[in-house]
Structure formats: C-alpha cells, structure tokens
C-alpha cells in the first residue's frame, strides 16, 4: 500500500466527456441499482408468492410444476442465468420480437433482461420461504376452517397466507438485502449500476481504493435503510408469542 497515492478529490473531477463529475456517475449507478432492485423485488414477491403457495396444494401435478420451477431457478448460478437470458433466449425468439428487443435502446433491453433474471431468481427463493411459512401454520387451523365450512381457497386467503406472511418477514428481509447485492451481476451486460460505475472509475482514474470504498459504503447504507424499514414492518406484523418471540 505504500506505493499508492490516495486522491479523494477524484470524485469531484470532471469526467473525460466534460459534462459531469465522477460523483454524478456514482449517483447514476446508485439510481440504477435501486430501481433495478426494487422492481425486481416486486416481481419476485408476486411470482414467489404464487409459486410458493402452489407448492403447498394437494394436487401433485400443480405442486410438482411449482417445485420444478423452484429447482430450475435455484440450481443455476445467477451469473449463468443472466447470460442465458441475455444471449441465449433471444436466439429462440421469433425474428420480429428479436428485432424489437435488439432495436430498443440498449439500456432498456439490459434493464428488461436484468429485471426478469433477478426477479425470477429471487422468486424461487421467496417461494421456498412462502411454502415453509404456509406449512408452519398449524394444521389444526385448516381443520377448524374446514369445520366452519370454509372452502380451500378461503382457508388459504383468510387463514394460511396472512399468517405465513407474518411468519416469514425476517427471511424476506434477508432476500430483500440479497437482491440489492445480487443486482451487481447486471454490470456484466453493461447495465449502469453501482459496481459498474466503480469499475469505470477504476479504469478512468486508476484510483481503485477510493472507488470501491465509496460504493461499499453506499451498498451498506442502502441495506441498512432497508433493514431498518423491514424491522419496523416486522414489529408491526409480528404475531405475539410467535417465532420472532414477543417479550
């Protein structure tokens, strides 16, 4: 480290094209990371909720389709999945769809690919948590529902799912934090997000430590905010005396 010359003012220097400073680049990257993560999170919650619930139904065909989905997305590395979505899948699209995809501004097609990839990858993980959450609701409650004349759907929507959501909140928080970290894979297809901007800074300024220290701090900051908000929500939704342990 003795050979390294620190230069924190690098962030306020003008970029080569002269229309911004490096700090603007970092902010653009931060926005990219946040937008991608939050939208992918919404996709993951919807798909994860549906698949996880289907995994618990009695019908063996439906539940095995759901578990096939989960295994497919859980067993392949995220980076490989992104590569498949970006390079392989478009080859199988009809010519018109492929042309439409390739002719849209690259930022959109990069975002679309990363959004689907990250959303579905995370949905498989959420599905598993939803399944365990639903299964954690005591069977007696289902029996009680049936005795009261509820249909299976009613039991799911009024008894099992609402409780499952409250039970799995801590696990969902971890997944929410993960999605912010995993969004960094989008850098490999050229999407503008935080870790790509750090790489760019390294290549343009040769100041790797400053760039990575700053983005590390930003990832931490974002995740600390997410954690605090999720903890608040968790407290609110907590079932007294259940799993998370109310005092």
């Amino acid at each position: 480290m003795t050979n390294y010359s620190w230069n924190w003012s690098v962030f306020f220097q003008s970029v080569p094209s002269g229309d911004a400073t490096y700090i603007d680049w970092i902010i653009a990257g931060l926005i990219g990371t946040i937008v991608l993560s939050i939208t992918a999170w919404i996709l993951a919650l919807i798909m994860g909720g549906i698949i996880g619930t289907l995994r618990t139904v009695k019908n063996p065909i439906i539940s095995s389709i759901a578990s096939g989905y989960i295994e497919l997305f859980r067993d392949i590395p995220l980076l490989v999945q992104l590569f498949i979505w970006f390079f392989v899948i478009p080859e199988f699209l009809p010519q018109t769809a492929r042309d439409a995809l390739f002719q849209m501004p690259p930022l959109y097609s990069q975002f679309l690919t990363a959004w689907i990839c990250l959303g579905l990858f995370t949905s498989a993980r959420i599905a598993e948590q939803v399944r365990t959450g639903i299964q954690a609701v005591p069977d007696g409650q289902t029996a009680a529902g049936l005795a009261l004349g509820f249909t299976t759907l009613q039991i799911y929507f009024t008894v099992r799912i609402p409780q499952a959501i409250r039970i799995i909140m801590p696990a969902l928080t971890s997944e929410f934090l993960n999605i912010f970290k995993n969004s960094s894979v989008a850098t490999t297809i050229g999407f503008i997000e935080l870790s790509r901007q750090a790489q760019q800074l390294v290549d343009y300024t040769a100041q790797p430590y400053e760039a990575f220290i700053v983005i590390t701090a930003l990832y931490m900051l974002v995740n600390i905010i997410v954690m605090l908000l999720m903890h608040k929500l968790e407290k609110k939704l907590q079932i007294p005396g259940y799993i998370t342990g109310d005092k």
């Binding site: 480290m1 050979n3 390294y4 010359s5 080569p16 094209s17 002269g18 229309d19 390079f87 478009p90 080859e91 492929r98 390739f102 002719q103 501004p105 690259p106 930022l107 097609s109 990069q110 850098t187 490999t188 297809i189 050229g190 790509r196 790489q199 760019q200 390294v202 290549d203 343009y204 300024t205 040769a206 790797p208």
Partner: protein
Amino acid sequence: MRLLKTSLAVLTISALGLSSVALADSATLNKIKETNTILLGHRESSVPFSYYDNNQNVIGYSQEIEMKIVNAIKAKLNLPDLKTKMLPVTSANRITLLQNGSIDIECGSTTHNKERAQQVGFSNTIFIIGTRLMTKNNSGIKDFPDLAGKNVVTTAGTTSERILQKMDNDKDMNMNIISAKDHGEAFLMLQSGRAVAFMMDDALLFGERAKARNPEDWVVVGKPQSYEAYGCIVRKDDPEFKAIADETIAKLMTSGEINTIYDKWFNKPIPPKNLNLEFPLSEKMQALFKAPNDKPFE
C-alpha cells in the same frame, strides 16, 4: 563464548548490510533474489498479446517480450534457476495486484496513460494501436460518422469507451453505447445483432475476428480515433528494475529481432484456431522499432 556470539552477530549484520548495499536500489530485484522467484502477470484473452493456447499455456506477442525480460533478469542477478509464477490479471485488478506485490511485472495490452502513470511505472512501448471499428462486411458502415443513431458496442473501461462518449456528446450523434464486460462479450453483441459496430484497439479487433466462425464476414474500418502505446507495467519508483525491461525491449527493437516476433503473431497462423491476423506493421510501429521510447500518446 560470548565473544564468539558477539562477533558472529557483528559478522552477520555486516554481511546483511553488504548484501543490501549491493542491491538496495531495487526493491523488486531484492525480492526476486531472496525468493528466487519472479511473479508475472498475464491476460487470459487478449489475442494475440497474452492469452491461453489449447494446452492452457500463456502465449502471445507481449508474453514473448515478458519472457525476454525474465531472461535479462536471470542474467543480471545470476540466477539461472529463477522460478517464474504466472498470475492471470484483468484490466480492473492489474494495477492493484502490482502495487500489493502479487505480480512484479505485467505485459499484456495495457495502455500507457497519465492516470495510470501516477500509480505504476511503464516500460518502453511494446506496441502501438489505433482505435477503429469492426462491422459486418455488408453493414454499410464505413467510418465513425455512419454510427449516428446506431447501437455501438465497446469494452467497459477502455479508451474507446471514452472516445465514443465524447464523440456522442460533441457531435450530438444519438449513438447508443453498449459497454460489454470484455472483448469476447462485446464481439458476441456485435455478432448477435445488438450492435452494428464494435469499437476497439485495431489489433484486438483483428484478434476477435480471428476467433469468429466466419472471419471473412467481418471487416475493420474507419479512421483511427486515437493512437495508444502499450507498455509493460512495473512498480513505480523502481528505476533499476524498469531499466532492465526498457533495455531488453530497446535491444529487441534496434537489433531487428522484434520483426520476427511481430511476424510470428500478426502475419502467420496462430493458435488456437491457426488463423492469420494479417495485420501489417504500421508506420507508427516502424518508427517505434527505429527509436524505442516510453512515451505515451495521451
């Protein structure tokens, strides 16, 4: 007994002192001598500069120069059994790995520019490239102005990326600039039709072209937008070590030996697919061979 111990200690200290006087100028040479090992950085897919052949050996134009430098160090330090350790580096980590001592020298396709020169030392220039475009032979793209409104791909963190961005800003060209992770992926984006052109160092474009399924489908076009000098990187403030690299490179060039090496990598079939890059020696390179120097273009 005590006297013996004391005198032994004195002897040891003065011996240590002597040997450190002998080589005190170069921390890198000292380290190489002490460990009998030199740590070399290489690139994994910079065809034809530094890359793997089919047997996972590192080969290439820059690699060959790097080994000449190693031989010069062997001779200088009188270490005929000097061990070499190879470490693959990327454009993102090569400077850090050099500074933290993981490698002693890297010869690949590293452009000498002023930002990098603040962190590391550059040897004499080993290659000069021009930044140009590769496109499909029927794309209708002849030069940079034809890129207006089009998707253009380049590799993240390269000078080409900066030039494209500046060109887009200055001339309001409405280009969509895609930055791929590495040259291979950038070429894949070109081949799949996501971009109509790939801007990069011309020598690397010829290298990517040689890897294509049908090399004859791809052409390198356009007036070079910049020239860049590739150098080997060494630790800064180690002039004695840099001098060995500089002398080795200068001698290769002025003796004419470099012409054989150039021909081998740019005008003859090369691994892994036995394709000929057919990349003629430029005027700038001829001038460099006549007068070796360590000056960047920037």
